[in-house]
Amino acid sequence: MRGYLNEQILIYQIKRGHTESFAPLYDHYVQKVYRFVYLKVPSASDAEDLTSETFLKTWQYIKEARAIGNLQAVIYKIARNVVVDFYRKRGKMIVDSLDESENEIVIADRVDLTLEEKMVLKSEMVLVEKALRELKDTYREIIILHYLNDLSLKEIAKVVERSPGAVRVMLHRGIKALKGKLKPHT
C-alpha cells in the first residue's frame, strides 16, 4: 500500500463495483488485523474466524459509507467490535493461552533461524504473549497497535476515540503493567 491517496483510489474503485480492488487492501491489512485479534481471543481458529468477519464487514462498510477518511481506523474499529460481539455471544470473557503447537507453526516457517534460535525465540514469545494476555484490554490493544502494528499515537487515538495525550498515558501505564507481569521471569 503506497499511502493515503492509493487507499482512497482503491476505495473509490470498490464503490464503483471493482471488487478486485479489495485484494490489495486485504493483503495490506490481513496480518495486522489477525495479530490484533489473535492477542484478544483464546485461540488461533477464533482469530481466523474473526479476522475474516472483520474483512467482510469492512467491505460492506466501504460499499455503504458515503466517504471514508481513514480506512485504517475503520478496520481496527470493526475488528474491535467483532471481538466484543464474540465475547458477548460466548457470554463471558475467556482468557486462555494459545495452543503452543499453533505457535510452533509460526516460528517453524522462519528458515533463517537455527533450531536453538527458534527455541529461544519461542520461549521469549510465549512469555511476553502470556504477560500481554493478562493485561487489561485497554492497555493491551494500545500496546499491540503501537509496538506490534506500528501505529503512531495519533493513529491509535483515532481507533480508540481518545486524545493522543490520553493514549500516551495509557501506553505508559500499559508498559509499566507489562513490566510488572514480566518481572518474576527476569
Binding site: 490481513v30 488461533a44 475474516s52 468477519e53 500481554l132
Partner: protein, 393 residues
C-alpha cells in the same frame, strides 16, 4: 528495562496467520464480494460448493513444495486436487472437522454466508449451521482420540452451538417488527422445530460420550440445552404472536405438547430416584427435600401448561412450560447428586448413564412393564416404583 520489554514485544510481530488460511480467506472473500458486487447473491449449497472449489484449489496451488512437505494435510489435499479435481477436495473441506486444516475455511465460508444473507434468512441459516455443528459433534464423539482431546473439541463445538442458537434468537428479534408477518412466522416456525431437534441430538450425543468426557463437558452441554430451550420458546412465542393462538399451526401445539411430555418424563425419573432415596439409608436428606420440592413445583407448572393447551391458550401454555424448565433442571441435578450416594444406582453402569437409563433398566429387570396408559393418566399417575432398593443385585 523498557527497551528490553519493547524488544520482547517486537518478537510478537512474528505472529502471522497460516499462509494457506490467508490465501483461502482472500479467495473466499473476493468470490463472495464479487457475487454481491454483481448483485447476484448465491446463497445456499451451490454457492458454497463453488466457493469451496475455488478456495481449496487456489489454496492448494499456493503451497510451496517445502510447505507442502511440511504439512501432510496440505500434501494430501494437493494430491487429491491434482488427481480428482476440485470436487473431491471440495468434499474434503465441506466434511472437515475441528482440528482439520480446512476447518477454518469451512467456518469462514459459513461466516460469509450469514453476513451476506438477508435479515429474514439469517436465523434460518444459523439453525442450519447449528445442525452442521451437531453432525460434527457426532463425528467427533466417534473419533478414536484421547478423552482430553475429545473433551476439548466437544466443548468447543457445544459452545459454538450455544452461541449460534443465541444468535439465531437475536436475528429473530431483529425481524419481529418486519412488514411481512407471515414470513416472520415461517422463519420462527423453522427455528423452533430445529431448536427442538438440537435438544434431542445433544442429549443423544451426551449418552455416547465416555464418563470423563461427559463430566468435563457437562457445564457446556447444560448451557447449550438451556439455550436450545430459550430459543425454542422465543421462536414459538413469535409464531403464536404472529398467528394468534387460535390460528397457530397444529405443529406448534404438538411441539408444546411434546415438550410438556418430555418434561413430565424427566420429572417422573426424578421422582423414581426420590422414591428409592426414601428407602435407602445415608442419603443426603437436604438434596432429597430439594428434589422433591422442585419436582412438585415443576409438576404444578406442567399441569397449568397442559390445561392452557387444552383451552387453546398457547401463550400461557408456553409461559408455564418455560417456567417449569429451570425447576426440572434443578430437580434433575439434585437427583443426580442423590444418585451418586446410592450404590445401586451408580455401580452397575460404567458409563454413568443418566437416571432415566438406570430407572428404565430397573423396570425392565424387576417389574413387569406397565400397561399402556393414555396421556392424561400418564401425567397424573406416578410411575410404578421398583420392588425394592436392591433391584440391581
Amino acid at each position: 528495562m523498557s527497551r528490553k520489554i519493547i524488544k520482547q514485544l517486537k518478537t510478537l510481530q512474528r505472529i502471522t496467520p497460516r499462509s494457506e488460511w490467508q490465501a483461502s480467506c482472500k479467495e473466499l472473500l473476493l468470490s463472495q464480494v464479487a457475487s454481491q458486487g454483481m448483485g447476484t447473491s448465491r446463497p445456499g449449497a451451490f454457492a458454497g460448493i463453488v466457493v469451496y472449489t475455488r478456495t481449496v484449489m487456489s489454496g492448494a496451488y499456493q503451497y510451496t513444495l517445502g510447505a507442502v512437505v511440511a504439512h501432510p494435510a496440505a500434501m494430501a489435499l494437493t494430491a487429491l486436487t491434482l488427481l480428482f479435481g476440485g470436487s473431491v477436495a471440495t468434499l474434503g473441506a465441506r466434511h472437515s472437522l475441528p482440528g482439520d486444516t480446512l476447518y477454518s475455511v469451512k467456518k469462514t465460508s459459513e461466516n460469509f454466508q450469514v453476513a451476506i444473507a438477508s435479515p429474514d434468512q439469517k436465523a434460518e441459516l444459523q439453525m442450519q449451521l447449528v445442525e452442521t455443528r451437531l453432525e460434527e459433534l457426532d463425528a467427533i464423539s466417534k473419533q478414536p482420540i484421547s478423552d482430553e482431546e475429545k473433551a476439548q473439541k466437544v466443548e468447543s463445538l457445544v459452545s459454538d452451538v450455544t452461541a449460534t442458537l443465541n444468535s439465531a434468537g437475536q436475528h429473530l428479534d431483529d425481524i419481529k417488527g418486519s412488514q411481512d408477518p407471515q414470513r416472520v412466522a415461517q422463519v420462527a416456525n423453522t427455528v423452533s422445530q430445529k431448536a427442538v431437534r438440537v435438544s434431542e441430538a445433544l442429549s443423544k450425543t451426551k449418552q455416547t460420550l465416555s464418563k470423563p468426557v461427559k463430566q468435563d463437558t457437562a457445564p457446556k452441554v447444560k448451557e447449550a440445552l438451556a439455550q436450545a430451550n430459550t430459543t425454542t420458546t422465543k421462536a414459538l412465542a413469535v409464531v403464536i404472536e404472529k398467528n394468534g393462538s387460535s390460528k397457530a399451526p397444529d405443529d406448534i401445539k404438538n411441539n408444546i405438547q411434546d415438550r410438556i411430555k418430555q418434561a413430565e418424563e424427566n420429572v417422573k425419573d426424578v421422582n423414581q430416584v426420590v422414591k428409592i432415596a426414601a428407602e435407602t439409608k445415608g442419603v443426603d436428606t437436604d438434596q432429597v427435600a430439594k428434589a422433591t420440592k422442585d419436582s412438585k413445583q415443576a409438576t404444578e407448572k406442567l399441569q397449568t401448561a397442559k390445561k392452557s393447551l387444552e383451552k387453546n391458550d398457547l401463550s400461557l401454555a408456553l409461559t408455564s412450560l418455560d417456567e417449569s424448565y429451570e425447576l426440572v433442571v434443578d430437580a434433575q441435578e439434585s437427583a443426580d447428586a442423590i444418585k451418586v450416594t446410592i450404590p445401586d444406582l451408580t455401580s452397575s453402569d460404567p458409563n454413568d448413564a443418566d437416571v432415566k437409563d438406570t430407572a428404565d433398566k430397573k423396570d425392565e429387570t424387576k417389574t413387569p412393564p406397565p400397561e399402556k396408559q393414555d396421556d392424561s393418566e400418564k401425567s397424573t399417575t406416578p410411575p410404578a416404583p421398583p420392588a425394592s432398593p436392591e433391584v440391581k443385585k
